[in-house]
Symmetry: C2
Subunit: 205 residues, 2 copies
DNA sequence: ATATATACATACATCATTGTATGTAAACAA
DNA sequence: TTGTTTACATACAATGATGTATGTATATAT
């Protein structure tokens, strides 16, 4: 059984991505070898090199499975016109992200890999640029939503939407990082919702 | 020149730590070999294995040089009794940390290594626990200071010091991460001070 | 029905890395 | 002054990892 159908080949590709995630998680990206991934996926390195150019290529494929949906959801949650409570939209977006982390093992593990099991050097260093620009994209959309909240009179007086968005973005960046690092769950994972609510109350009228 | 005096040996030790920092920064911790470090330090692997058990041991030695002073400074800045503005103390602590990152190449590089050039797996995974507990220590001290601020009437009404501290801690965690990733400096490094001021104004009366 | 491209598995050559074992000259203690 | 320990350098043995080259059976196109 050497040559497979297209559907079978796609299954193999997915199996390799899943295997990579599993191995990255326990060994870290750098210490993971193609042989590790192949063994986990039940194939040989030949299969991996057929589907992916090298480890980075595989890494990017894994990353996309989580980040493309994130962008979509953000647009759906934040950029809806004519919402009666933009502030709620922001809160819902943050809550939704946490909820996804809670529900999706896949997403959770990929976040963990990207945050504490990957070294951003050499070929990986350009991922940082993507993260930064991604981040400013998020901030911009949050800022827009804060501006709408201001027009609706939801905000305390004298608060600059742009600065609010930056503060929220940094808060959430920190929360995600601590959420991921808090494997025991006692410190941050359980209270994430409370932290978000408090953060939003700070700026609500 | 084989056997050196104690002072000379200590210099060698420091040279190895410095070299490790330089190499970790460009190659990442995992991809860095003892030979790389030895070459950078102008010694052989023999010297490194004499002073350090292995790469982790060396990593911890490097880390301590930055984090022991941090704890001291935090205590000095936050836990001063009878300050007339606890809120200012918190702001000064955050500002001071950023200032140190700006001024000390060594500190900056070690933060960068720990945040985006190290994979927390296997032997390194217990560092995460240290970070978490370190973090809750910081939050506790900030909470204490917020409580003092509340007693002095510096805070807006109805704000819980503990929650404020958590929010501040997450904000600052996020800021440090973005500060480090923002190598160009344009996004976060230049406006860090403004972001901190805004964050503090959000809770000041 | 045959040719060709596909989806892998296998084999190969090369280089990198680790820990330790051993060597050694100078510092230090007695 | 003579051990003895220190502070390394050198040598060794074993293993791991990469990328590519090659093999091959089957799906698919014509």
């Amino acid at each position: 059984m050497v040559r497979k159908t297209k559907e079978n080949a796609e299954l193999t590709r997915q199996a390799i991505i899943h295997a990579a995630r599993a191995v990255f998680l326990v060994r870290g990206v750098s210490r993971t070898t193609m042989e590790h991934i192949a063994a986990e996926a039940g194939v040989t390195r030949g299969a991996i090199y057929w589907h992916f150019k090298n480890k980075i290529d595989l890494f990017h494929a894994m990353r996309e499975q989580v980040f493309l949906p994130l962008i979509d959801r953000m647009d759906d949650t934040l950029l809806v016109e004519g919402s009666d409570s933009p502030l709620r939209n922001i809160e819902n977006f943050l809550m939704g992200t946490i909820q996804i982390l809670n529900e999706s093992i896949e997403t959770r593990q990929i976040y963990e890999i990207m945050m504490i099991k990957c070294e951003y050097v050499e070929d990986f260093s350009d991922v940082l640029q993507q993260i930064i620009s991604n981040c400013s994209g998020i901030t911009a959309k949050i800022a827009l939503t804060y501006e709408r909240a201001r027009l609706k009179g939801e905000l305390k007086e004298g608060l600059n939407p742009e600065q609010l968005a930056q503060d929220t973005n940094l808060f959430f960046t920190g929360l995600l990082h601590m959420w991921v690092k808090d494997a025991s769950g006692t410190r941050f994972r359980q209270q994430a919702a409370d932290l978000i609510r408090f953060h939003m109350q700070l700026r609500a009228k």
